[in-house]
Symmetry: C2
Subunit: 361 residues, 2 copies
């Protein structure tokens, strides 16, 4: 049974349809395609799996589609690839009313969303995330963008889709490693604001890992609901939305320090969350048993819990470029207790150094 | 005496201060610079003239500024130059609260605005236009962006500044050719919606060309007011805002066909407006005397009234890529009468061809 979640953002509100087979249901797309034309942005991995299926669904609505097939991977999330998208859209004369459909994971979603935000100063955007990570993370909240050689996600825009289709069937072709990476963000929602969901995850992790459709649908819907609640309160990330970045300040440093694409985003978030948990313990907020419980859940999901040994100086350097820096001071998202994250601005440097040294071994 | 015009766009409203010496009045900037830090984006032509002055004004507020000095010209309005801006902002650790100040003409304003819209997904933006064109055109309306090899202004965003300072003193260093180019847009406002202003321009063109401060201030304020009224009604260009594009469909074809930067934007708009007037005459809306009156005013301002002979096919090709294309049909902004423009969608191709042939000689 499909579930629908409405992301409430006044005139930018939109529905997320979650379930098995939603990619094959043309009626869900009616109303978003008035002009009988759309561009589909996807990549060389996803296109052979799902492009045909989406094109057939669109044909049932009489919609002709222009595919734009990009290379795969985080390393391509840059301005050169953006120019490939723009050139394809211009060559096929896509207009202001032509929707861009993102078919793929987070990289495709972020780039397609940014293209939709900036092509002809903004065109309609539809998201069809095909990885667990993109279904629970990038499909809610409107963050779009690309990397810059000096930092991840530094260039972008807030731009909301008109519709999201999260088809759990697409997770059947997802490599284990990527399923695990998505699970890092799912676990994050439990940690930052939903202790009951955290317990549910501890009880149902095995079902999720064998890709039980009902369990996945439940986890995706509850994750998206958590994120949608946070985003509805704080669309432009001035306050509560920062809590969604648990593990991300450390995680971005790992991704940047290792070079984009060496670590999956979710893997970096898992290891980064353990660093945040370690620092929370040093501040006296968590006890060793709770940190061990967090470590165990990530390990069961198949995620790394030890960070790469970049050296303290490199970590500090990479974290200094993080967007969450305010007035030159670092701000950390830490766990006040299990199921409740807070932002803390005045972390003693000595404790931070201890964490950076302790978590790499 | 300085004049202040408020552009009414709900929570995105902002003031434009127009007058002699506003660049040297720190009190106008108070409130926009809470963090005592700003980045100034300018170019190699404007920096030697006005960068020092602006930095001194900022210093009076205790604001430290990071200059980003770009090469000059429309040919630089591309993604490579955007990457130069992003790199400079990242290297100097500009944050979400650091305003970007555009100091220069339309190219600087468009690129800085797009950088402000997309750096860290959006930072505050202040505009200090130093050419007549940018003071009367790009400082109102929030259009930002860059060119693409396949078309002009194809990539961008709608992003409003917090404040605009239009200092008439900066026009004293403007080459005659660029003053004339700005005058093309000033005349446009009279043609599309303000017949009384059109008459005022016919009476005061000589004063404007000798850069009489009071006349310039009046023309800038009235131009901005006309544009602000149109934009307030239609921020995202779904309807009336299209009228501002009088002469621009033809003008863009001239600019693209000749190669970016060969013709100044205002020059192309002047020649393009004559094409629109010619087509309006062929539709029976203007008489020959009215077209001659328009031609004379542009000529007095020192603007071209004959278009380059690209050939009909090339014009059609370049116009086909214009953003104002809807459902595959071209839409033209034409003059129903002196002081009133309308959008017309079903122009007989034969009349269009006649115009394209008649106006190049």
């Amino acid at each position: 049974m499909m579930q629908t979640l409405n992301v409430e953002l006044a005139e930018r509100s939109y529905p997320i349809h979650i379930g098995s087979g939603v990619l094959g249901q043309p009626e869900l797309l009616t109303g978003c395609l008035p002009r009988k034309r759309a561009a589909i942005v996807t990549n060389t991995v996803v296109a052979p799996l799902y492009l045909d299926k989406l094109q057939v669904t669109l044909q049932q609505l009489g919609v002709e589609s222009v595919p734009v097939i990009l290379p795969d991977g985080e390393a391509c999330k840059n301005s050169d690839t953006m120019n490939l998208i723009y050139s394809a859209l211009l060559s096929s004369r896509c207009e202001r009313t032509t929707p861009l459909i993102a078919l793929g994971g987070g990289v495709i979603g972020d780039m397609t969303g940014f293209a939709a935000a900036t092509y002809l100063r903004g065109v309609p955007f539809i998201q069809i995330p095909t990885t667990l990570l993109s279904q629970v993370d990038s499909s809610v909240g409107g963050k779009t963008g690309i990397n810059h050689p000096l930092g991840k996600n530094m260039i972008g825009a807030f731009y909301q889709p008109q519709l999201v289709l999260a088809d759990t069937d697409t997770l059947n072709t997802l490599p284990d490693k990527e399923l695990a990476a998505g699970m890092a963000e799912v676990i994050k929602y439990g940690l930052i604001r939903d202790a009951a969901f955290l317990e549910w995850l501890e009880q149902n992790m095995d079902l999720l890992l064998v890709r039980d459709t009902a369990a996945l649908q439940y986890a995706i819907e509850r994750s998206c609901r958590n994120k949608a609640e946070v985003v509805a309160l704080d669309e432009r990330e001035s306050g509560e939305r920062a809590l969604l970045n648990l593990g991300h300040t450390f995680g971005h440093a790992i991704e940047s320090g290792m070079g984009y694409g060496k670590w999956l985003h979710g893997e970096a978030v898992a290891a980064g969350t353990l660093m945040a948990a370690d620092l929370s313990e040093r501040l006296g907020w968590l006890d060793a048993g709770q940190v061990a419980r967090i470590r165990r859940l990530f390990q069961r999901a198949g995620l790394p819990v030890i960070s790469p040994d970049l050296g303290v100086a490199a970590y500090l350097e990479w974290m200094g470029l993080d967007k969450k820096v305010e007035g030159g001071k670092m701000r950390f998202v830490l766990l006040k207790e299990m199921g409740r994250a807070v932002v803390k601005g005045d972390v003693p440097t000595e404790l931070l150094r201890q964490t950076l040294q302790a978590c790499v071994k």
